[in-house]
Symmetry: C2
Subunit: 407 residues, 2 copies
């Protein structure tokens, strides 16, 4: 294999959310027991943005159309995004995170938070650099570091055996920094486990980063969707050196605006400058007209967000109740976000095959745990930002299939 073939062999996307249509069904028939279960198919690999579930926030399309109508100034923005929008969003994010953000040099608008992750990793990590990555965490984190040629140093998170903290192994993190890790990348709330790092954990991450002069990239994509009674600490406002932290957010999740491909990264101006240079050759800019939709961000109608969060919490609780009726299944209650990450009991088929069977026999699409950590192959992730009734019925079918294939 040539160097470039090796590089791409590690970037498999066959199990990635939305890519299931490209999977082959080979060898599945021989494993099947019993009949197909009827019911509305539910794709838990991502949120449902249709009217019957969680549609885009009000006013988003109108803001887009106004952007098109304003013409060239919206189509051709600076590579880092239109200046007045950056200023507006920066003010909201400063207030939200508890530490001011300058729209002129501390923020970039990106094509989705995926774009923000790529730009921040590629602007921070050189080939051969060591990067600390949490297990489990968002699957693209690992792939991004591998693509750049960085070396991954895994940090364990014992999310199942903790309740008031995420469960990060801070000793491992310090050892990693001692061993030369200069970049730490993590999501908070965690994707896939839905756990929130405690104030103490965030404080210690900040202190270690300062002590070892490491750069921390924190993906806070789900930080607006927090459930009742959950305390949330923004790393950037927790005493970390502002020259060494990048925060990533976007309106794709709680706001259901994923179809507009918008994200932002904000933090250290030196790194933001690099990110803009890189964006210039990767995609020029976040889609110009779509940027206009950011006018609605953090300006949603009053009580709108509150109601959305309550609706998600109700779905979460219903699904967990059904899942927990399964003996031997383990699931921590997510504190934020819209992911459940249950661990399956022992089955007669491999967890990977069970995921394929679930899709075939129950019309239920989930993302296998292997995507998030080599240690979580017996779990799967489901995004419960769905139509409530359809999701509940899909989980009832899932539970029925677990019983059918139980070891």
């Amino acid at each position: 294999m040539s160097l470039i073939e090796q590089k791409f062999a590690r970037l498999s996307t066959d199990n990635a959310p939305g890519q299931e249509v490209r999977q082959r069904a080979e060898g599945l028939d021989a494993l099947l027991k019993g009949d197909t279960l009827p019911g509305t198919p539910v794709d838990f690999s991502h949120g449902d943005v249709n009217e019957s579930a969680f549609a885009p926030t009000p006013g988003s399309l109108e803001a887009f159309v106004a952007g098109v109508e304003s013409g060239g100034e919206q189509a051709y923005t600076e590579y880092r995004g239109r200046a007045d929008l950056r200023a507006r969003v920066a003010e909201h994010l400063g207030r939200f995170t508890g530490s001011p953000v300058s729209g002129s040099d501390e923020l970039i608008i990106t094509p989705g938070t995926q774009g923000a992750l790529f730009l921040s990793i590629a602007s921070t990590v050189a080939p051969g650099d060591k990067v600390a990555i949490v297990r489990p965490d968002y699957f693209a984190n690992r792939k991004l570091v591998e693509f750049i040629g960085g070396e991954i140093v895994p940090i364990e998170m014992d999310y199942l055996n903790n309740a008031d903290r995420a469960g990060l192994d801070l000793g491992q993190l310090e050892s990693a920094f001692k061993a030369g890790v200069k970049t730490f990348l993590f999501s908070n709330p965690n994707n896939p486990a839905g756990v929130v790092y405690s104030k103490d954990e965030i404080g210690q991450i900040a202190a270690l980063a300062n002590q070892y002069r490491a750069t921390v990239i924190v993906d806070q994509l789900y930080s607006r969707l927090r459930y009742a009674g959950v305390e949330y600490t923004h790393l950037r406002a927790a005493g970390i050196d502002p020259g060494n932290v990048i925060t990533i957010m976007g309106p794709s999740k709680t706001e259901s605006l994923s179809g507009y491909r918008l994200g932002v990264a904000f933090g250290a101006p030196k790194l933001l400058d690099r990110m803009e240079k890189l964006q210039a050759i990767v995609s020029l800019r976040a889609p110009g007209y779509c940027q206009a939709v950011l006018r609605t961000w953090f300006e949603e109608p009053e009580s709108y967000m509150e109601e959305r969060i309550q609706q998600h919490q109700a779905i979460r609780d219903d699904l967990l109740r059904v899942l927990r009726s399964v003996e031997g299944l383990a699931a921590r209650t997510p504190q934020a976000g819209s992911y459940l990450f249950p661990r399956l009991p022992k089955l007669t088929v491999s967890p990977q095959d069970f995921v394929r069977i679930l899709r075939r026999q129950a019309g239920v699409t989930v993302t296998p745990g292997t995507e998030f950590s080599p240690d979580t192959g017996d779990s799967f992730r489901l995004n419960f930002s769905q139509n409530h009734a359809a999701a509940l019925h899909a989980i009832e079918r899932t539970v029925e299939l677990i019983a059918r294939y139980r070891a």
Copy 2:
């Protein structure tokens, strides 16, 4: 400088189109002679998509809105783009280029042609690989190769002293292949010179690529905007091994849809697979709702394209007539696209300073020739997809300033 600092030091965007607002004005005052010239400011660094110039093609916004209304299936497409849109666009492109394209495995929808360029280069070139790049050519080509860590082998194009061919030095190209170049990247029509490669040139490029088993990436972004009597040869239909060619196009130029950030790459399935894997970690997908706008592509109202081309040709001819009144200025007539790339006569200020003066004293923004080749520092590029009258007056002011600063 650390490895990563070195990498980014080569990616300057200060002179890139649209970035001029971030430039400092230091030291300019001392160079100025005479007064400011009144007139509507014209930004020739990119096309004008306002109603007064070349607005987006009819039906594009309606197609976008229909995409939003169709919901999740348009928001969350496969990473390579929505299947039915790929099939539709592939059919058009097969007919347009004279060789069939499969929507299922030979085409990817990208965030603009910039996204397509990045993905194709990053999927083909490994660090240390040699890549042949034309001088002059689109400035991001060089930067992309440098960012990936490839080594650039320049190929000269004598565009000023040819009329019926682009003027590529085919001997240099063969020497480059002999010396180990495995990838050749070029734009046709050429950006910035607006010249079209002859049938013979394209045939020889195909033959050399086949002989040396090199991959060719051809950026045909402007291939729909061709002027009267110009013969155009699509490389992919000129006998090149289909497993070694990627063609890039998009609706940003002739169609003025740049604000939607859409492009496509089509060709070798093996390379397309890599590009999709990479897109998955760089931006996930081209903006979902925007993809729907591709329904209008190659389906524009009859005679619409023809009229657009005639309008561009009329502007081209008017601007060239005024520019050619300047003694010592050299400009080849563009055969396609909307760029002029005149070479200035000797001035009392450097060409770089003249570009800044032009912006300050005439309200005329152009892109300095240094962006396209180290050999074209005395030229500048202007995109004449503008309001006709405003562009003409801006060029009259430019000519007045050339006279004022002439050596």
